[in-house]
Symmetry: C3
Subunit: 496 residues, 3 copies
């Protein structure tokens, strides 16, 4: 890491390098000491009947390095790195509010409570599932080299390894608590994207079970291929903050659900898609702005350290959002005559997703353009899904799925090799040849295939076990708020 | 503080140690130099008729230590500590938006303006009252040893003491401005909790006056017992971030108000509680997520320094919220048949309150469980208050009062002695004996008794002076928005 | 900068000093190396027909100083400065959500989509325009000494200069990416203020074009006079965070638009102003609290470094907001009988604007009072504009224009010379003489004259070119949401 910072011309910004270098010593220490075993035993003992066991950790204390032992530069980096990652984590968690407002605002009033409840509850489940096993599957030690990882259950909170890492002169030495929390927020994001695709017709309980499967198993295993130094990382795949790993996985998972569910009642009449306008544009707009803010944790936070590049990533992220907004607005104004607010919102989100993989491998101009093309894509994709008879109520697949793939492959078109001025082009169109493009396409395809297959199986099993995943026709017509939750979102207001 | 960080096995995480160690030198300096006297004189001179006096500080400048005099580790800690506390402060202040949205969303449309106005205005009052006298009563020099503190009026902004503290090699050296602002946000939180309990029937002006009394006197005096090293701190009471000190004080203060006010018209028919659903679940959900985010300032910020433990506190906070959400949702689904969104919201908040005292004294598993039990408690408590004929419109006493007490005593059940792997159990169920449990129960009781007695007096005096604290029956039926504010929250929408 | 921090008695807090000291070396380096020329060439090549050119930067890499070369204090300041400025930037960008919610909430339902779309889209445009040319005009090299600056098109992202600055022992060495993003958020704020003044009757496309002109040319040129060390800075004008430069410029620009547009249909009947209440007080209140939070980036961020003064600025900001809320509430209760929520909101915003220029040149008491007077002013100003027949739908000119001027001149009344205890008075009422007052008044007038003249021309040209800037009478009556966007904000709700 330190050497990487010293020699900018060849700074690999794919997160894997960071992950392997940073987490390596800590993971090693954990496996040697066998912490997790004892901790998982403690957990079993913690069920209400055996409260006595709670918190009994049998490992002995170790803290050879104290914060006050660090030299000035070491302390500066250790504190700034961990502070920045924690703040980035908070911003990513705040994205839950953004997703909840965008998805609820873009759905109909009669399903608002359902969408809100799903978004709120799923984060609680995601963080629990990721704590119990997901983090271990994603960042644990190798089980099947490059493909499967595991390190026992539950997250080990010992900060000693991070302090030792800092004392050894490394930067980006994150305590396990902040790394876990940052990663768990990413897992929650993937689940939240699904919520939008299956909105207004999926059963609450069945969705909840699927979310657990996704965040505990499907997402972490896929994520490890790249961010834990797996086979995609070894190929040289670049996905800095998760266009493929987070957004396309969420998009594919939801697409399978949406296709299995079928369209909402009344969405297609004689094969033609009908407009089903969202019920609250104020909260949808608020949600878009919260997501924009949250992305400053998502993308710059994926630098996994505080350094001179964090703000660079923030600028590429911002310019892509701006480009997406402008392009989507212009195109939708041309095609439909007037600037549609939902298209401004989706254009912004499309721009953000389009830069998420390449936010550390793109010039400023390249970022704006990647976002702008994403903005065009989202307008076309929404229409294309309608034509294909697939009902994506809030445009989540167009935004996260299609632009997730686009954001991954655009690195192979005009990406650059890092964030320093002398960074060489690695794309087909800026002199880098076609190699990176193929790798990017392969990675994007791998995430699509894995997610579609596993999620299809998961949705089928859940549906078979619980008697279908879709609410009854009567309940759908009346609204899921009454049917699933027995309440209304706005009981004091008259409906039109 | 430094030594504490160096020897983790016995790290006392109760905030008092920090407070006394950190603020000690600065408080001493202030009293020696008599800064506050001269400053309070300056204030008197600042009334409009004597503007000339404004800003005339008669003390001479002192700044023996400059930022550039600090060594590397000193500068790293000084900057990170003050930056982190400032960010934590912003997050806690943001909780005002969370409370406003949760409380307004869970009340009826006709009282929305009133709730919003209360929440907005009370923070302005709280910060003013806390600046004038509250901070001095809470963190000033000893007047009655362990029980009462005072240091003149107005906050002294001189950062010299913090720089000297850093130059002496200490960590957690906060400038007075950031410490004051962080603490004033806590004071505002206590007042905001009251707002929910007395909602939909209290007079605006009378509530405002009560808020001033609470934030200027009742809360700061109670807080000093623990966080200024008072008698509870000396007993070994643990309340890291304020389950008792902030949340239960707010809860008890509001409960007294709610009982003196009596229930809303129509709440109880033939002794049975009637549902009065909130008017806007979208903003209530948003508020819950804002509060969740804000809690990352509230709890981890209470470490009062940036170090390797901040993120640990964030994880315990997160897992408790998740546990609370899951337990409350499961229980309310069992009891009422369907997952109620308001119970998911209250479950999250219950989990958060339940870990606020013990967020630095709990294993990860213990935190999840503390939150989950909190989630169960809140469902039961809401029903119990209904049975008892007490009308708590948004469930604020169940969340902040009952779970505030629970969060305090759970440390005595399965708390541990710090955040390092070797931390010993200090609870009844994990080998720590019953001592800590009794201390926790005593502290929780002390805050309940103090608050109930003083607030009962305060509400009575205010009611006597202004002719009652409850609006007229006609006004309540019509809604407080028209009666108290002469306006509607949503004038363009038809009511159902 | 370093010396300034070492000798607090004469610490000039006007931002110019910072800007010239900090950006000087970097700007110099840029102009020597001619980076921008080659980059603007790269941009021209990046149009879709010539994608090949994207990312081709012809300058050679330079990175003589690496992060790991910095000493402890240097690394501590470099990391803290850049981290803090990035966080401040995020907070300021979040203000877009605040403005969107306040403005939309205070307008009528039938125009909500329009306001939301404007606020969302304009930030995308502002950041693009500021990236292309605005930043260069505001912080580039001198073209006409003290009056006009320019440095080619597009922002140069090279962080080398900042690292060299840090290695030379300076503090506040910001990488260009974070400085650009922080400044672009300010530019967006100015445009957003205009949106409120022209609400409910301006054409969407014409407003969009005006916003580009404002953020690309009018605002940056005016800003350079002070923050790039121009003629106002040389006179000793103080505007720490932009009461004049950002808020009054936005206010004046919007006022010209509002006067050219004329009042909304039905606003004045027989010369008397009619109430047109906002449609959603919940989101308006949320917006006010988001703006309050965002101001902690706006004002303390304008310190442009992390040091012992950042929190001081946060406290002056907070107390002014509190003073503004209290004074506006008291006065509006006296004049209208009941506390009006919109006046609490505008009182808070007025207090915040009133301290924006002087947040680093005011005692705590002076800040509270400056805000309180601002709160009184806003109540009077709203009534005065009504009397004058000017229709300002959300009170934006009263808040940002009038209080922007007030916040600028109050420094000449009771400002002090910095943030240290010994800071001398520089105002008319605290022994500083009348000199500073005249300079402040001159600066405020300069911003007013420049903005009114240039914006009058801009609005006229845009109106002439596109056939007027106001929607048709029929469209205005029906609402701009249908007319401009073909959609409704709340289609499922019945209107009253």
């Amino acid at each position: 890491m330190t050497t990487a910072l010293q020699s900018p011309p060849r700074r690999t910004t794919s997160r894997l390098q960071d992950a392997s270098l940073l987490n390596g010593p800590m993971l090693l220490l954990r496996s040697i000491k066998g912490f997790r075993r004892s901790q998982s035993w403690a957990w079993l003992a913690s069920i209400p009947l055996a409260l006595l066991g709670l918190g009994v950790f049998t490992f002995s204390a170790r803290a050879e390095v104290a914060l006050s032992d660090l030299t000035g530069p070491q302390a500066a980096s250790f504190l700034a790195d961990n502070l920045w990652l924690f703040i980035a984590t908070i911003l990513v968690i705040f994205m839950n509010a953004g997703f909840a407002m965008v998805e609820a605002g873009m759905c109909r009033q009669k399903n608002a409570v359902n969408i809100l409840a799903k978004n709120l509850f799923v984060f609680a489940l995601a963080v629990t599932a990721y704590w119990v096993i997901g983090y271990s599957l994603m960042y644990g030690g190798s089980v099947i080299d490059g493909w499967l990882y595991f390190q026992g259950l539950f997250v080990d909170p010992d900060p000693s390894g991070a302090l030792e890492c800092a004392a050894a002169g490394d930067t980006g030495c994150l305590v396990p608590a902040v790394d876990f929390l940052f990663q768990s927020a990413f897992a929650g994001t993937a689940a939240t994207i699904v919520s939008g695709l299956v909105a207004e017709r999926v059963k609450f309980g069945e969705f909840v079970v699927f979310s657990i499967v996704l965040t505990a198993f499907i997402y972490p295993i896929a994520g490890s291929w790249q961010w834990n130094g797996g086979w995609l990382a070894e190929l040289g795949f670049i996905d800095f903050a998760g266009s493929s790993i987070v957004h396309s996985v969420g998009g594919w998972a939801g697409l399978v659900g949406a296709m299995l569910l079928g369209p909402r009642i009344g969405k297609f009449v004689d094969g033609k898609a009908q407009a089903m306008p969202g019920h609250n544009m104020a909260i949808a707009t608020l949600g878009a702005l919260i997501l924009w803010i949250g992305w400053y944790g998502f993308n710059p936070g994926s630098e996994l350290a505080m350094d001179q590049y964090v703000a660079y990533v923030a600028v590429t992220t911002t310019l892509a959002a701006a480009g997406g907004a402008i392009a989507a607005t212009v195109l939708s104004t041309i095609t439909s005559g007037k600037p549609d607010l939902t298209m401004i919102i989706n254009g912004i989100l499309a721009g953000l997703v389009s830069i998420t993989a390449g936010c550390g491998n793109m010039t400023f101009a390249g970022s704006w353009l990647a976002g702008a093309v994403g903005g065009l894509i989202v307008v076309v994709a929404v229409a294309a899904l309608d034509s294909a008879g697939i009902d994506d109520p809030v445009g989540a697949f167009s935004v996260h799925g299609v632009c997730g793939v686009w954001g991954t492959v655009v690195i192979g078109l005009w990406g650059v090799d890092g964030m320093d001025p002398g960074a060489a082009g690695i794309g087909l169109l800026n002199g880098g040849g076609i190699n990176q493009f193929f790798i990017q396409a392969l990675g994007a395809a791998a995430y699509g295939i894995w997610t579609v297959v596993t999620c299809w199986i998961a949705w089928q099993i859940i549906g078979g076990f619980f008697g279908g995943i879709r609410v009854s026709e009567a309940e759908e017509t009346q609204g899921l708020d009454i049917g699933e939750h027995g309440m209304e979102a706005y009981p004091d207001f008259a409906s039109s």
